[in-house]
């Protein structure tokens, strides 16, 4: 994974696959840390599964024998002096928190987070995705539900809608001076 937005897309896709109806992605920018948090209300995992998901040769899928998403983000977090924390309960959902050393030389760049967020907001049918970015007092937030409320009967999945949201998110993050380096 060459940038963090790829890891984020991957972790959010895990939540979609776990049949989550609500997913919240929060990116918190601190002086020394970059914290990525994904919370969902999907099927959740039991204790035994939770201890094995960081093993790249464990997956809940039957079509292939590897599951690389969480092991890869764990490796990235740990190589920057950070960590990966997982909390989950069957029937309640899962919370994934990756803490990365913001100034660490091995931290991958954020990548195109505006495009990634726009694609996640519009591209997953039946999922309400909340995207939040926090840095000091600055907060930017947008959700699938808000966009759908504005659009009414217009299909949220239209390419023109995603394209608009991508520009809107980028401009708002710039306006708030939120920078990921």
């Amino acid at each position: 994974m060459k940038d963090l937005s790829m890891h984020i897309m991957d972790i959010v896709q895990n939540s979609v696959r776990a049949q989550a109806a609500n997913i919240t992605l929060t990116i918190t920018v601190e002086a020394s840390w970059l914290i990525l948090k994904v919370c969902d209300d999907g099927t959740g995992m039991d204790e035994a599964t939770l201890t094995r998901v960081s093993d790249p040769f464990y997956t809940s899928r039957s079509t292939r024998k590897v599951g690389m998403g969480l092991p890869l983000i764990k490796q990235t977090a740990e190589q920057t002096g950070g960590s990966l924390q997982l909390e989950s309960a069957i029937g309640k959902g899962t919370k994934v928190t990756a803490r990365l050393g913001r100034r660490h030389i091995d931290r991958p760049p954020m990548g195109n987070i505006a495009a990634t967020a726009a694609m996640m907001i519009t591209g997953n049918e039946g999922v309400n995705l909340v995207f939040e970015v926090k840095q000091d007092d600055a907060v930017f937030s947008i959700s699938t539900r808000e966009v759908k409320d504005v659009l009414g009967d217009v299909d949220i999945r239209l390419a023109s809608v995603t394209s608009f949201l991508k520009d809107m998110i980028r401009e708002n993050l710039e306006e708030l001076n939120i920078e990921f380096d």
């Binding site: 079509t63 299909d155 239209l158 809608v161 394209s163 809107m168």
Partner: protein
């Protein structure tokens, strides 16, 4: 300084989009939209599926093609990622493998706009439960 886009601007854009939707609904063929699904599992993402999806959205928007672009899980073609499934109105879905931005342009130009098949199609090797029951 230029004005930052907000949801109010999206509300204005909605009126234009609504006009297009009602035009489509009044036509003889209600399914007029091109549907594109991008396989977005770890294998696809690591191979560049996110960039391809972003490019497809930009190009469809730029060329004013009435299209919905969504994500889907692993289609099982990890060896050929990034993979996309394109469904033209009234046609069966076609899966393309090893799609990069250049191939995406070719798919839009030749397959989506002109209906010509292009290299890189992954042959269909699955059937739906409904199709199986018919036989």
């Amino acid at each position: 300084m230029s004005k930052v886009k907000s949801l109010s601007d999206l509300r204005k854009m909605r009126d234009e989009l609504q006009a297009k939707v009602s035009l489509r609904e009044k036509s003889d063929h209600p399914e007029k939209m091109v549907q594109v699904k991008v396989s977005m599992a770890t294998c696809g993402i690591a191979s560049g599926a996110k960039e391809v999806m972003n490019h497809l959205i930009e190009e469809m928007d730029h060329r004013a093609i009435d299209a919905v672009v969504t994500q889907t899980g692993c289609m099982g073609y990890c060896h050929a990622e990034p993979t996309i499934e394109v469904t033209l109105p009234g046609s069966a879905p076609v899966v393309f493998g090893h799609v990069d931005n250049k191939k995406a342009d070719e798919i839009i130009e030749k397959y989506v706009i002109r209906g010509e098949l292009v290299d890189g199609i992954i042959p269909v090797n699955y059937e739906t439960v409904k199709e199986n029951k018919k036989e």
